[in-house]
Symmetry: C2
Subunit: 392 residues, 2 copies
């Protein structure tokens, strides 16, 4: 990983979750950084989400640190707001930041009180442990049912020098971000104004985190935050901004795809490409409907080229289209042409579907320029096993 | 079953599906009956759905027979419209009905050509086999992955005599009707005008078939049709109409609940009651969101009182509500009060959740009068096993 300059990271075990994996983490920028975030659209947003929204507004997009815990979502809890506020204030005081310059994020079980003391008494150890190469350690501390840690980094050479962007994320269930995800943190040493950073995050989010689904459930705690501390020492030229956007978008897509691939119980990443819709948002709606169909996802799990389910799921997207103009491809093989069965070798396609990456193309013939790419995973018995007993 | 007067039924094995279960069925009224139907809202509606819609319009709500096949959805097929039309015409000719007085319905695999010959050559045997007590036989012939046949009947004593209503239905996967279901057929000997029958069907459908979900997938073939042949010999009084509506609604709810209980892989029926929303449709949206949450459904499968997932799913319904006013009950035990964990005996509730019927109540404190009752089933490994290999 090419880590951006000017950030330090720490994690520790605070006793929030039962197994002894680190469950408390801190990301700190050497100077307060331009920052932006997108949050869950769930009505039952958790206390740290509500506090971070407010802090971002009050600080006008300047953030010095992000405090994260796993093992408890701090959502639907009696003391939730107090716990989020007191731990954020203590963190700010310890790091000599304004309270609004600290963001908070939590992930884990909903409806169980989070003991602020566990966090407060671990803060000194966290500060003590801050190191420049602690990025991976934090990426591991925020994992819940994740099987693998999820990180990505990119280096971009501009006229006046190099900027670095690095991101980490978590999540494998309760995933259909719709504007954010369970948790994602991106740091860069690029020098960018908060407003520009906010725009770039939203543009990138719309084609990454907003285009994945594991189970169609949007969590109460989704947060995707970015900090840009300017430690690279120069501003990108105006004409270099598209390249910066492209690098950020690619990084966000990599993180989002890692989430879909590690979906609970998943054995395969499914990419769904839709084209020929009248608008991009209609293409996304079709892709999302296919991605959320348990019947499509179980068919892929069973290597079954059951394209009828794909057409059926698309038909449920609430988008007008003529089924007689639809062509569907699976793993590059045409299975449905103009709404009708196309001849294909069942045995060959079944073998191709055994791959870890499955591509479904859904094309509507015609002049429509709306397109979308969406990622999900197959639905296996593992998902049931994990979720029939996660809480207890 | 108290069968209505004036109907005959037949089923036979036409060779459409591989196993030798009957796959072709006919419901015939002695005289053309007032009729109404609701159909799938899926954009990729099957050929028999499109034909039946047209026939109902052309006949102005007069139907003499319904021809049904299982094993093939006749959807996304090159010859679909021709097959539906030719088999309906042949049936009409055989029964001396106008072609528009026959409805068609199909269920089964999508995208495989349906051989009209198989149906045409079986029609004489069907006619030969028509009997008054063949109702259950037809109910079995329309089953696909269903484990049990689903029927209900009711008898209603009115001032001038008795009317009988009987219904059959099928379906256990690809179930989220939104205005209809895979297949449902209701016959009554009541004397009702087509327009009144149409209204009554829609009123009943809105609180029955429209309020169930197994997996959130709406099939391409959903059809719920009713025939009222007036064989009872009298018209109900205007003031008796509410009682007729009530009887029909109760019958439709019984059929709909039987579908949810027999959901693919399901071991439990889950009833979700929502109250306190500002309007009924908002209550339905919340109930639907809870019912479609894989996380809620797997928790119920695992006897896990994980109410946080219920609150989270409700928060995703796109309906405004204050989480701090929410009370959640499971099996009559309060697990969440005013948005916070309520004390309850975990072991007692876990034991109660082992029942075959699970009740979830989601109440928003306040003046809202919007309510809904919705039915779904738990999500088990059985669903995955069935659907990873249904087609092949």
């Amino acid at each position: 990983l090419n880590l951006p300059l000017g950030y330090r990271y720490a994690s520790t075990y605070a006793g929030i979750r039962k197994d002894k994996r680190d469950d408390l983490a801190l990301i700190v920028s050497g100077v307060p950084a331009a920052s932006a975030a997108v949050f869950t659209q769930n009505r039952a947003a958790a206390a740290p989400v509500r506090l971070s929204r407010r802090n971002l507004r009050e600080s006008r997009g300047l953030t010095g640190a992000i405090l994260i815990n796993a093992g408890n979502a701090n959502c639907a809890t009696r003391t939730g707001d107090k716990v989020a506020l007191s731990t954020v204030r203590a963190t700010a005081k310890m790091l000599r930041l304004a309270p609004a310059q600290v963001l908070a994020a939590s992930t884990g079980v909903i409806g169980v009180e989070l003991d602020a003391e566990l966090i407060l008494k671990s803060l000194p150890a966290l500060k003590e442990g801050l190191i420049e190469d602690g990025f991976g350690q934090v990426a591991r501390a925020i994992m819940t049912t994740d099987l693998v840690e999820k990180t990505e980094s990119v280096e971009l050479k501009l006229r006046r020098g190099t900027i670095r962007i690095a991101g980490m994320t978590k999540g494998s269930g309760m995933i259909q971000p719709r504007m954010a995800t369970t948790l994602g943190f991106v740091v860069t040493d690029a020098m960018l104004a908060p407003a520009a950073l906010n725009r770039m995050l939203r543009v990138g989010n719309a084609v990454s985190y907003d285009c994945i689904s594991v189970d169609g459930d949007t969590s109460t705690n989704d947060t995707l935050a970015i900090m840009a501390n300017g430690a690279c020492g120069f501003r990108p030229d105006a004409k270099e901004m598209p390249a910066v956007q492209e690098a950020l978008t690619a990084l966000l897509q990599s993180l989002a795809k890692q989430i879909a691939r590690d979906g609970e119980g998943a054995k395969k990443l499914i990419e769904i490409q839709v084209s020929g819709a009248t608008r991009d948002d209609k293409a996304i709606a079709i892709a999302r409907s296919i991605a959320n169909s348990p019947l499509v996802k179980t068919a892929v799990a069973g290597n079954d080229p059951n394209w009828g389910r794909i057409l059926c799921a698309a038909g449920n997207a609430g988008v007008e289209f003529d089924p007689a103009k639809v062509t569907i491809e699976m793993q590059g093989m045409t299975v449905c042409k103009r709404g009708l069965a196309a001849p294909f070798s069942e045995s060959e396609l079944k073998a191709n579907l055994e791959a870890k990456d499955v591509l479904i193309r859904f094309a509507i013939d015609g002049a429509g320029k709306g397109r979308a790419t969406f990622w999900t995973c197959d639905l296996t018995e593992g998902y049931i096993r994990i979720n029939a007993s996660y809480r207890t």
